[in-house]
């Protein structure tokens, strides 16, 4: 029997207000094995920790239960403290009587009963604890960034500047992401290309950065410090080294009917194309869906006209295997499809467009050369209506519950730019709320309303329909409390933004958790906002949640600093709580092998002596270097042959027993 000490924390009044501390201490004292129990106002303070250290020495404790906050907050603190007092750090258990009790119960009597049950469970568990020794693992000094938008590029540049090699994998033929499509940026109205392209060029020319474009990460194995990734480099059908980006192929290509993705489908592009003028790499790519040579084995004109001999129709996808110490997810966003909003007429009317489409219509490199005109007939518009929150703050299944955060500002930007360039155009904005929190943001909005004469109407739009060659926007004006109809030439929908569709696949590949909106989850919403709960995986940009460019860049830098902090280490301490298979119980059924997300389980044919029967059996073997201690195998194993050190089946059962005991 161990000598167990129990330490109950008040957490100021956080715990003490809803849990009767004295009762918990008294209940702990009579548990088997407990030789000492006490309480203190702040166990995590130096004074509190000293109480624990002194008690360990004085009462010869070999097991400690801390009844306080979540182990995610202070487990490490108390394990270190145990080590200081000569105790194995894994002989400490935490009973979470704050998040699990005091924060969710109001009734002190109820809370106290539950706190006692949880403390008893922790005591039962620690009685079965065994000292564990951590190992060490090495760190591959190279990072992988998934996504080549502004977030990924900023992270890559910061890591590269610190002296570490970085690979940026971008699924499209060029880096740049969504920002490359944007015309001007709020609140300073500087040109997006002017500030983005220098970053793109920096990344392309940096000796520590390798851009792997038109490629996708196919699988990732391993763990923090030692990831192994397989990257599929899709066939471009163009030799990246030989191509000079001269554009002759584009001019000669007879197949010019593919929608131009970069211009949001507002015009067409040839089958062989360079996405935009500042694309990096400035290399053509052939779209295999529409190329006449690749679909029907005819044409091949581009090959004939290419002086650099760069066209290669025999090119195949290539698989690249690389090792990394850290992985940054920067998969970004896309605007939602608005065709579900039938009442707004996006699918029915060409002059109902999304905000991103408007960006392209106003951009000098866009389909109209920057001249704002109606999509339907190319005429000059006189009245433009913006509709906010299309799919944002929308609790129906067709929208998103959250605020997309950037729309109020970019719509204000659009309104201001239009009024500045075309003072004859009337601009009206329908909004639910105007949200302009940020440095110089509200000032920007006020300038639009006060100096540029943009009309803001608080209210939602019920319907957009066509009448006598005009669009009519029917909505409610909540301030004057009336239904209004406004004639418009163009209607611009501020479509909600959603996580890029690749995010879910990337997250499952990395075993990084995502929320119900497919945004990646942080390790801690406030204190660890750029780390995934999965060690070695970091978050940059909108993949974590809606944010604007300055926030994205700030977060990208923060993610980079976390990666650098990891890559400078030569050794990492491994978690000794790994799975272990019992040879005498294992049936070799492969259930654990199939369920293990880390590929940590293998099989060997081994001679065993089972109570005098000597035979060769197929047995599961855990590679402790790969095992992350998730415990999935121990749950999947029907015979209980698989066990997790530190969380053995017996310990879990002892906890359940202690909680259920009346």
């Amino acid at each position: 029997m161990l000598n167990i000490g129990v330490f109950v924390c008040w957490c100021g009044s956080n715990i003490a207000a809803t849990v009767d501390i004295d009762q918990v201490v008294a209940a702990a004292k009579i548990q088997p094995g407990v030789v000492f129990a006490t309480d203190y106002q702040y166990m995590c303070s130096e004074a509190g920790q000293k109480i624990m250290r002194n008690a360990v020495l004085e009462h010869k404790l070999d097991g400690v239960v801390i009844c306080a906050c979540s182990p995610r907050m202070h487990e490490a603190t108390f394990r270190k403290n145990a080590e200081k007092s000569g105790l194995n750090p894994f002989m400490v258990e935490i009973a979470n009587i704050r998040e699990h009790v005091s924060w969710i119960h109001k009734d002190k009597a109820v809370g106290t009963v539950k706190a006692i049950a949880l403390v008893n469970a922790a005591i039962a568990k620690v009685s079965l604890n065994a000292p564990l020794i951590s190992g060490e693992s090495s760190v591959t000094k190279r990072a992988l960034v998934i996504g080549g938008g502004i977030a990924g590029l900023q992270t890559a540049l910061d890591i590269a500047e610190a002296g570490f090699e970085v690979d940026v994998v971008e699924k499209l033929p060029t880096i740049g992401g969504n920002m490359a499509k944007i015309d001007k940026t709020f609140p300073t109205l500087d040109c997006a290309a002017c500030i983005l392209t220098p970053k793109m060029v920096d990344a392309a020319s940096h000796e520590n950065i390798e851009l792997i474009t038109y490629s996708e990460v196919e699988s990732v194995k391993g763990f923090v410090g030692s990831f192994k990734a397989t990257i599929r480099k899709k066939a471009r059908y163009v030799d990246e080294v030989a191509c000079t980006g001269c554009g002759v192929c584009m001019a000669k290509c007879p197949s010019k009917k593919s929608l131009n993705e970069f211009n949001c489908g507002l015009n067409n592009r040839p089958s062989v194309y360079i996405p935009f003028a500042q694309a990096i790499p400035n290399v053509a790519v052939i779209d295999p869906q529409s190329c006449i040579k690749l679909t029907r084995d005819k044409c091949g004109l581009c090959q004939t006209v290419c002086e650099a001999k760069a066209i290669d129709f025999t090119q195949k996808d290539e698989l690249i295997e690389r090792e990394y110490g850290a992985i940054v997810v920067a998969t970004g966003f896309q605007p939602i499809k608005v065709d579900k909003f039938d009442e707004l007429g996006y699918s029915q009317n060409k002059d109902v467009i999304t905000s991103l489409e408007l960006e392209r219509l106003m951009n000098a490199a866009g389909p109209t050369g920057g001249k704002l005109q109606k999509v339907s007939d190319g005429s000059h518009p006189h009245d433009i209506v913006f509709i906010q929150c299309v799919g944002s703050r929308d609790c129906t299944a067709r929208g998103k519950n959250y605020c997309s955060k950037i729309c109020c500002m970019y719509t204000t930007k659009h309104a201001m730019l239009i009024r500045d360039k075309y003072p004859d155009i009337n601009v009206t904005v329908f909004y639910i709320d105007i949200r302009t929190a940020g440095k110089n943001y509200d000032e920007f909005y006020r300038r639009a309303a006060e100096d540029y004469g943009v009309t803001y109407i608080k209210g939602q739009v019920g319907k957009v329909y066509e009448e006598d060659g005009f669009l009519v926007v029917q909505g409610s004006d909540l301030i004057s409390n009336e239904q209004i109809k406004i004639k418009a030439d163009m209607v611009v929908l501020a479509a909600a933004i959603e996580a890029d569709p690749s995010a879910k696949k990337v997250a499952s590949m990395l075993t990084a958790s995502i929320d119900t909106n497919n945004f990646l989850t942080e390790a801690h919403a406030k204190l660890r906002p750029v780390e995934s709960p999965t060690a070695g995986i970091f978050l940059s940009g909108v993949c974590q949640g809606p944010k604007d460019i300055p926030e994205t860049v700030a977060q990208a830098g923060a993610a980079a600093s976390k990666v650098i902090g990891l890559l400078v280490k030569n050794k990492l301490v491994t978690n000794p709580c790994v799975a272990i298979a019992d040879e005498m119980l294992c049936s070799g059924c492969s259930n654990c092998f199939n369920i293990c997300p880390y590929g940590a389980i293998g099989y060997e044919e081994k001679l065993v002596n089972d109570h005098g029967i000597r035979e060769t059996r197929r047995l599961a073997v855990v590679n402790p270097a790969l095992c992350q201690g998730c415990g999935a195998c121990s749950v999947a194993c029907p015979s209980g042959a698989m066990d997790l050190l530190g969380f053995t089946n017996k310990q879990i059962m002892a906890e359940v027993d202690a909680i259920c005991k009346k």
Binding site: K504, L585, S590, T616, R617, S639, A641, K650, Q651
Partner: protein
């Protein structure tokens, strides 16, 4: 059926004589027509007792689990439904395929003697069945029963006459019975309130005597050491500590075989207390079909079942609870 039995015997004799196999796993005649038992035949002379009649419902695939480390080769007689279990055992590495010779045999449904006896018939001397009717000779005279009324539970929901794995086939032309909807009773249970359902299962499971027949017959229950016999698991003493925990035995067993159970029906067939244990497993089969698309354990060897296979299209646990279990 008698013609088929003779063909099987002849083939078994050939296989033993030529030394192609060291033993045949089949059914041995009992004292009565209706009590054949699984047996291993290693000598040609013993084959006189090999039988294949209307009461050979037992699934013989599990008998190979004990032979996994043997260097001898065994032939096994498998009906179409038994072959699913065979595939599942191969998938789970619980049998050594290279030491097994699978003889797929035809089947036209097997009978439950308890159901015949329940009709007041006793002293049975011979039974012969057509597709629809069964003629029963007894020491008191003959009677004729509708076959559908006296089929084994598992044959009522027969999955057809296809052997999904075999080395050779004998009598595969036999017609298997037309199946009923196998999820009918599960749907009825689902429609009950929680209290009604609990009462139903309490009534059924309280009869359990923990004889372990279900566990021993189940081709998915092949652990070298069952978790209930594993002293280190912390639960070994719990299954029979009280009436309630005894019920837990069956629920834990159903969890352990979920997505691995081929719905062969052996658990209910062997239960001396006639507890409809297969309904627990069938509920999981139904759920898995609904959540992940139709899945039949054992229809292909070496496939990953949906519970240990992860795809981007997997149903989210939150979706399951939000929509009350509907995908």
């Amino acid at each position: 059926m008698q013609g088929l039995e003779k063909k099987i015997k002849d083939r078994a004799s050939e296989l033993l004589q030529s030394g192609a196999v060291d033993g045949i796993i089949g059914w041995e005649k009992g004292q009565f027509e209706y009590d054949p038992t699984p047996a291993v035949f290693t000598k040609e002379t013993g084959l006189d007792n090999l039988c294949y009649n209307n009461f050979c419902g037992a699934n013989l695939s599990k008998y190979l689990v004990g032979k996994i480390t043997s260097d001898k080769k065994f032939a096994v007689l498998l009906k179409p439904c038994d072959t699913y279990s065979m595939n599942q055992l191969i998938t789970e590495h619980r049998v050594n395929r290279s030491n097994i010779y699978i003889i797929g045999i035809g089947c036209n449904g097997h009978l439950n003697v308890e159901k015949i006896k329940a009709q007041g018939i006793s002293g049975i001397t011979a039974v012969s069945a057509s597709d629809d009717h069964v003629n029963i000779s007894t020491i008191y005279g003959d009677s004729k029963l509708a076959k559908k009324e006296i089929l084994l539970g598992k044959c009522e929901v027969c999955r057809g006459n296809v052997h999904v794995i075999f080395d050779e086939l004998i009598g595969e032309e036999l017609q298997t019975p037309k199946p009923d909807d196998r999820f009918e009773m599960v749907a009825k249970l689902e429609a009950m309130t929680a209290e009604e359902r609990f009462k139903f299962w309490q009534g059924e499971l309280s009869r359990c005597i923990r004889c372990n027949a279900c566990r021993n017959a189940c081709p998915a229950c092949t652990c070298r050491v069952c978790v209930f016999d594993n002293g280190r698991s912390g639960i070994e003493a719990k299954a029979n500590a009280s009436e309630f925990e005894e019920q837990m035995f069956h629920i834990i067993r159903a969890f352990h075989v979920a997505a691995r159970c081929t719905d062969c029906g052996e658990c209910s067939r062997v239960c001396p207390e006639n507890i409809p244990l297969h309904l627990l497993n069938r509920k999981y089969v139904k759920d898995i079909n609904e959540f992940y698309g139709d899945y039949q354990a054992g229809d292909i060897a070496e496939q990953r079942n949906p519970l240990v296979n992860f795809g981007d299209d997997d149903i989210e646990p939150t979706t399951v609870s939000d929509k009350g279990g509907q995908k």
